[in-house]
């Protein structure tokens, strides 16, 4: 994927993110995820049905990278099993750490493949994934 395409996908997901809405319904689990060193702060609402992630929404204030990453996460992980989601997240982390990862698995998540070069934005891209990971691990306990 060339850098212009990556940029376009990031901007599209930033300007028109998927499922940006609060979900106060009882069946949604709410997790807050924020970055200690900057001001990104979002709430993620997740609905599990047995082992399946049936729905994810979010609300909050964050930068273009965090918002777009949240949207991309939502696009790719709704309908997945918890294990599939954890595998996706692990691959995403590997990519942002400049380690080996499965490009096909991440789909449009690869738009952040160069983010490891910008240390201070890496945490922006991983922000929503850390929130979702926390929720999944909690639910598996």
């Amino acid at each position: 994927m060339d850098s212009e395409t990556k940029r376009a996908i990031i901007m599209e997901n930033y300007m028109h993110p998927t499922n940006r809405k609060r979900m106060e319904e009882e069946e949604y689990l709410k997790v807050n995820t924020n970055n200690a060193s900057c001001i990104d702060n979002i709430d993620i609402y997740i609905k599990f049905k047995d082992n399946i992630i049936e729905d994810i929404t979010f609300e909050g204030e964050a930068c273009a990278i965090s918002i777009s990453a949240t949207s991309i996460m939502i696009n790719n992980l709704i309908g997945k099993t918890k294990e599939e989601a954890l595998k996706y997240i692990a691959n995403f982390y590997n990519m942002t750490n400049n380690e080996e990862y499965n490009e096909d698995l991440l789909k449009e998540g690869v738009v952040y493949s160069d983010i490891y070069k910008q240390g201070n934005r890496k945490t922006c891209a991983t922000l929503p994934f850390r929130g979702l990971e926390k929720a999944i691990l909690e639910s598996l306990k």
Partner: protein, 398 residues
């Protein structure tokens, strides 16, 4: 001005985050290195020459601070790790023992967390009340609003001398006069004030003042707690230990040293204190009138250039200090900061530790430019040029 004094400015960097911390001139760095390289003994162990020199340098800084803020005596100057520690010592060690349930403390919504959270703790612990002096349409504190906020329960007014988001200089002298007429103590958070305007604690009649070294060309990890001597006598040391006690045999026979030593338990930040002394010498040499004038001119220059840009919303068009807070239409402040960073411009994005200010300003986060005397008109030109092209910001913010 004085750019050659700052080693960091040899890099291709435009540093506009002086509200967070200032750059350090070479003389301060050298002074600290000299201590570490040539006489790094402990303080208050004057039995040998090296240690005697440490004491001399350490105590000389106390003299310099006393002159710098025009305190009445050396006992009024206590070295701490910074504004945060100073405020916590004042609030817990003095007011924690004095205030009772129902007593009221006045602050504002634009205070830094260090001047909010220690008071919140006393709310929980003692049942005191924290009330907010309303800000006017410019987010300023006016005397009228101070007077309106005072009740017969008000015991303390605790304010930043200059706030770190809006940058307004509070009318401290009028406040202390009115407060003292009503038996109210005044605590001033001087973190943003002391580095930028001449602060005379005697003239302003401040009861307690807290400030940090690192925002005024000094090192990190060192600051000052000033208190009127008769009040400091009643400030209970939070830290007990070496250096601050006279003798002890049992819990009933603990005798503490006089001020200010009893408030400086343990080995102090010696290099930091000595470095702070050098920073004060340095600022004195430049002269505060020159610092104030330069900052004022730089700020005016920046505001005049930003005002015509329709996509920029300046939060504090009016302000007395070098702080300018703004937002670029529909762009998250952090993205603006990242964009500027691509051009080696350092600005701060965020709420600047004033998390309750949003209730007054209606904006959670801003981009903050905070100037100091070594910034230049050319740097501002560079900044404004980058900010003037909205499409470029959107294009390059990710």
């Amino acid at each position: 001005m004085n750019r050659a004094d700052f080693p960091l400015l040899k890099q291709d960097i435009i540093y506009l985050d002086n509200g967070a911390t200032s750059l350090k001139p070479k003389c301060v760095i050298d002074k600290m290195n000299d201590y570490y390289a040539n006489y790094s003994a402990n303080a208050h162990r004057g039995d040998y020459d090296l240690s005697f020199k440490v004491d001399q340098e350490y105590e000389q800084t106390r003299e310099l601070v006393k002159e710098f803020i025009n305190a009445k005596c050396l006992e009024e100057i206590v070295f701490t790790s910074g504004t945060t520690e100073s405020l916590n010592m004042i609030i817990n060690g003095f007011f924690g023992n004095l205030l009772e349930a129902g007593d009221e403390v006045l602050i504002t919504t634009s205070e830094h967390a260090s001047n909010v959270l220690p008071w919140f703790r006393l709310v929980k612990k003692l049942g005191i009340k924290v009330n907010y002096i309303p800000l006017d349409s410019n987010y300023y504190v006016t005397m009228e609003n101070v007077k309106k906020s005072i009740t017969d329960k008000t015991k303390v007014i605790s304010l930043a001398g200059i706030t770190n988001v809006i940058g307004d200089i509070r009318p401290i002298k009028e406040i202390t006069k009115y407060a003292h007429d009503h038996n109210i103590f005044v605590v001033i958070d001087g973190a943003q004030m002391v580095p930028h305007v001449k602060t005379d604690v005697t003239d302003l009649d401040i009861d307690f003042l807290a400030f940090s070294g690192h925002k005024m060309c000094g090192p990190t990890g060192v600051g000052v707690l000033y208190g009127k001597k008769e009040l400091l006598e009643h400030l209970e040391p939070i830290n007990l230990g070496g250096g601050m006690n006279e003798s002890f045999d049992s819990p009933d026979t603990v005798y503490l040293k006089p001020l200010p030593t009893r408030l400086e338990a343990g080995t102090p930040n010696i290099a930091g204190v000595i470095g702070l002394g050098e920073a004060i010498r340095y600022l004195n040499k430049i002269g505060f009138e020159n610092i104030v004038k330069e900052e004022h001119n730089l700020r005016k220059y920046l505001i005049d250039k930003l005002l015509p840009l329709k996509h920029i919303d300046i939060i504090n068009i009016e302000s007395d200090s070098g702080i300018v807070a703004f937002n670029v239409n529909n762009i998250f402040s952090q993205d603006v900061a990242y964009y500027l960073n691509k051009y080696n411009i350092c600005v701060r994005a965020g709420n600047h530790c004033a998390k309750i200010l949003k209730s007054s300003v209606g904006v959670t986060n801003t981009v903050r430019v905070s100037l100091y005397f070594y910034n230049t008109y050319e740097e501002i030109d560079n900044l404004v040029e980058l900010l003037s092209d909205y499409d470029k910001i959107v294009r390059e913010m990710i």
